[in-house]
Amino acid sequence: MTDTTETPALAMQTGLLAELQDRFRRSAEYVVIPILALIVSGVLFSIFLLALGKSPADFFALVWRGGFGTSFSWQNTLVRSAPLIFTALCVAIPARLGLVIIGGEGALVLGGFAAAAIAVPMIDWAPVFVLLPVMVVAAIAAGGIWIGAVGALRHYRGVNETIASLLMFYIAVSVLNFFVEGLLRDPSDPNKPSTRPIGSENMIGVIPGTDVHWGLIVGVLLCVLLYLVMNRTTFGFAAQIAGGNLRAAQAQGLPVGKLMVVACAIAGACAGLAGFFEVAAIHGKANASLIAGYGFTGILVSFLARHNPLVIVPVAIFLGGIAASGGLVQRRMDLPDATVLVLQGLLFIVILVSETFYGRLSFFKPKGDR
């Protein structure tokens, strides 16, 4: 019962046009709302700075300089972005199934630890092209099992995945501490309890001409890959059904439990990879430096990117830049390092609030629906 009395071909054409318009309108919403949220957070943070008697203009100028102003600050930013990309994926993939995983930090820590630990007995004899792949597999497996277990707990026992993943972060930290302060502690390092270094000859190098390690490139490729997985595969489609309406997914006979566990395992593997790169490209060993908060900032990145893997890359660079500017802000404005954390926190709250505006702003509604 179509309303149109035109020829079928014409009706088809107008249908296609409406489809295109619809898609455009929806994508516009996804750009404008986050930008508005950024502006609102900036204003709120300015009020915070003014209350402290500091100039917001100076602050934002410094963030710009410290994060993006020079080639040095760019490199600093990109080095910090790499782990954020991985940990953001750890949030974004389960989010498609309606799961809120906030324990990516735990998978990162454990992934990094597993990579370093498995390397210990191999350092003396294994060539680098054996050692690094083994470390990668260990990191992926550790992270994957860790968050995969959260998914399994959720599906089979009904345990809330948000709480479970957060609590498992503390377990991961304890596991790391237990081993680096005991069994796997490197006796030659008197300062900080660490595993034995994998040796500079085994470390992952930097992208030529920069100080940025290859993790960034891997992260970007992984985002593209997972974007395709979530949007162009039957797995991603099934995950979307299960995330949108569990009952509908069950009625279609979809293996909901398996989907949840697999999505969580993929997520954990991403965070585990972040840990691998922190060990193999930055620290050279596993110690408490792995607990740097990348997993938690990754939550912010994913929400800001609306859990879209492709958008994660620019957002991770943006937040990496803010983090990179912390030192400069501290030195120049006599503000504590944690100031940028206040900005991050504000951003997160405003982003969460802005989520509630999707589909509500008449500006983006179909024509005539205003």
Binding site: T2, D22, G236, R247, A248, Q252, P366, K367
Partner: protein, 513 residues
């Protein structure tokens, strides 16, 4: 201003008029130059098929939507209704198809919290006195002190109306107010409302599908079709045939499909001793054993809440079995995707947005739930290609006459009948061997109902084994070859349709057997 003061002079009914109301959604004109006039103190019925624009019209009147063009007049003065609050302020209230009461609160609490001027600290003694004074002014009687969850459907609907009166609304829009009521309850509620309009206290605009209610209670009627006013006038001057012709236009309502005799009756689906628990882990269904043959519709009748929904959930994989087995063609069957495909098991149910669709996903995506992992949408394992998905959706949209602005529209934006049609297109467009259906026509208008029942009968005639659970006894009587009655989680009665009648089934439903 206390409630008593507000109601002291009997509220005078107001008249509402729309002039040239037009509403355009994207490429869809939902309302086209609609002018209707509801006189003060009249009972006005709004008739129309699914997607005719009835809901859009009342949503414009209530301020949920802003019309693209056109005005609204209240007592002959142009008013601006930017939001529902403004509508309430004018005295226009709406009673929805589904209840909006808080189940855990009592009727009195529901009424008091509904007010916009409820104080932070409620003086219950004073409120109670106010409520009693108010109740004396209305013919509706509802127990005030038990939680709403303990009220019957009829009492809940009366309370919804009471709430609008308590809020001093003098123009009530009722959206299919009787779809959740038994015929007796419906007559009582509509009779009381009719009395209030005759007394000049209230004006009513009622969306309905039931001609019986329109002819018995309404003064005037307006008929919408495809967003336009196609007729109307005094109900007394119109016959049911006149009204239905206006509603349907040139479209043929499909005849109820003839029942083709099925000589060879091979056993298809067998339910063997099914037990399952409800959400509180109490037994919900016990020892359900049924056999359904090819080309047979087995209808399960029963009063709502006797385990029917749990049975459907078990059969569609939404609830685990505690004990018992399912067989198709004498082979064990579990409701998992590969087996659903192998045995060609399909199904649909009431409230598709809650049960079998993903509201936020597009029409095209929702239509692809059964086919997304098969060619051509998935040309090779694991890959998904959106173009064949949209192409197939376009074909289904036209062959099942789903009204949607585009294939990319989130399915939640479609009207109820169109959502159900989209689901029907998904589930019935292939070969169907087993069909599991629950209350498929719940809340839909009669053209959709005829359509859906016809499709079910077609599938039966093509040889599908069909299990139909319905709370609508007429539906069972029309469709079923064999009838079973479910009471307290058990099958308490079963008979071929030819050897039973409405009274016997009704008795079994009430628990006498």
């Amino acid at each position: 201003m206390s409630v008593a003061e507000k109601l002291e002079p009997a509220p005078r009914a107001i008249g509402v008029e729309t002039v040239g109301m037009t509403k355009i959604f994207g490429s869809l004109t939902a309302l086209d130059d609609v002018s209707i006039r509801v006189k003060p103190g009249s009972f006005h019925a709004l008739l129309g098929e699914n997607g005719a624009g009835k809901s859009t019209l009342v949503k414009c009147m209530m301020g949920f939507y802003q019309p693209t063009r056109g005005d609204m007049l209240v007592d002959c003065k142009v008013v601006d209704v930017p939001n529902p609050k403004a509508a309430h302020a004018i005295g226009i209230g709406m009673v929805y198809q589904h209840f909006t009461l808080v189940p855990s609160l009592t009727a009195a609490e529901n009424l008091v919290i509904a007010r916009t001027d409820t104080p932070s600290v409620i003086d219950w003694k004073k409120e109670r006195a106010g409520l009693n004074t108010f109740l004396e002014t209305t013919p509706f009687k509802v127990p005030l002190d038990i939680p709403v969850s303990g009220l019957s459907a009829g009492e809940k609907q009366k309370l919804e109306i009471l709430k609008q009166l308590y809020l001093d609304q003098r123009f009530l829009i009722l959206d299919e107010p009787t779809s959740v009521l038994t015929p007796d309850e419906a007559d009582e509620v509509l009779g009381l409302l009719r009395g209030m309009t005759e007394a000049g206290e209230l004006t009513i605009l009622m969306i309905s599908h039931k001609f019986r209610e329109v002819t018995a209670y309404a003064d005037d009627v307006t008929v919408l079709r495809r967003g336009k006013v196609v007729g109307g006038g005094r109900v007394a001057d119109l016959s049911v045939q006149d009204m239905s012709r206006m509603m349907i236009g040139e479209t043929e309502i499909r005849e109820s499909a003839a029942r083709v005799a099925q000589p060879e009756r091979k056993l298809k689906l067998e339910l063997a001793g099914l037990f399952a628990d409800d959400d509180e882990e109490l037994p919900a269904i016990e020892a359900i054993s049924l056999k359904i043959h090819e080309g047979e519709i087995l209808g399960i009748a029963g009063v709502s809440g006797n385990g029917q929904s749990e049975l459907i959930e078990v059969l569609s994989g939404q609830r685990p079995l505690r004990d018992g087995r399912l067989f198709i063609d004498k082979k064990p069957y579990e409701p998992e995707r590969d087996q659903m495909d192998r045995f060609k098991v399909f199904g649909f149910s009431e409230e598709p947005l809650r049960n079998v669709a993903v509201p936020r996903m597009s029409v095209a995506e929702n239509m692809a739930f059964r086919t997304f992992d098969k060619a051509p949408i998935s040309p090779f394992r694991g890959w998904l290609s959106p173009h064949p998905m949209r192409k197939r959706a376009r074909e289904l949209i036209s062959s099942y006459r789903v009204k949607t602005p585009s294939t990319e529209e989130p399915i939640e934006n479609l009207s109820g009948g169109n959502v159900q049609r989209a689901i029907l297109a998904r589930e019935l467009s292939g070969n169907v061997d087993v069909l599991i259906v629950a209350n498929p026509c719940f809340g839909l208008d009669f053209a959709s109902v005829a359509e859906i029942r016809g499709q079910i009968m077609d599938q039966r005639n093509k040889g599908a084994a069909i299990l139909l659970v319905s709370e609508d006894l007429d539906e069972i009587l029309e469709l079923a070859d064999t009838v079973a009655v479910m009471s307290e989680g058990r099958i308490t009665y079963q008979s071929p349709m030819a050897r039973t009648d409405r009274a016997t089934i009704g008795h079994a439903m009430a628990g006498h057997h």
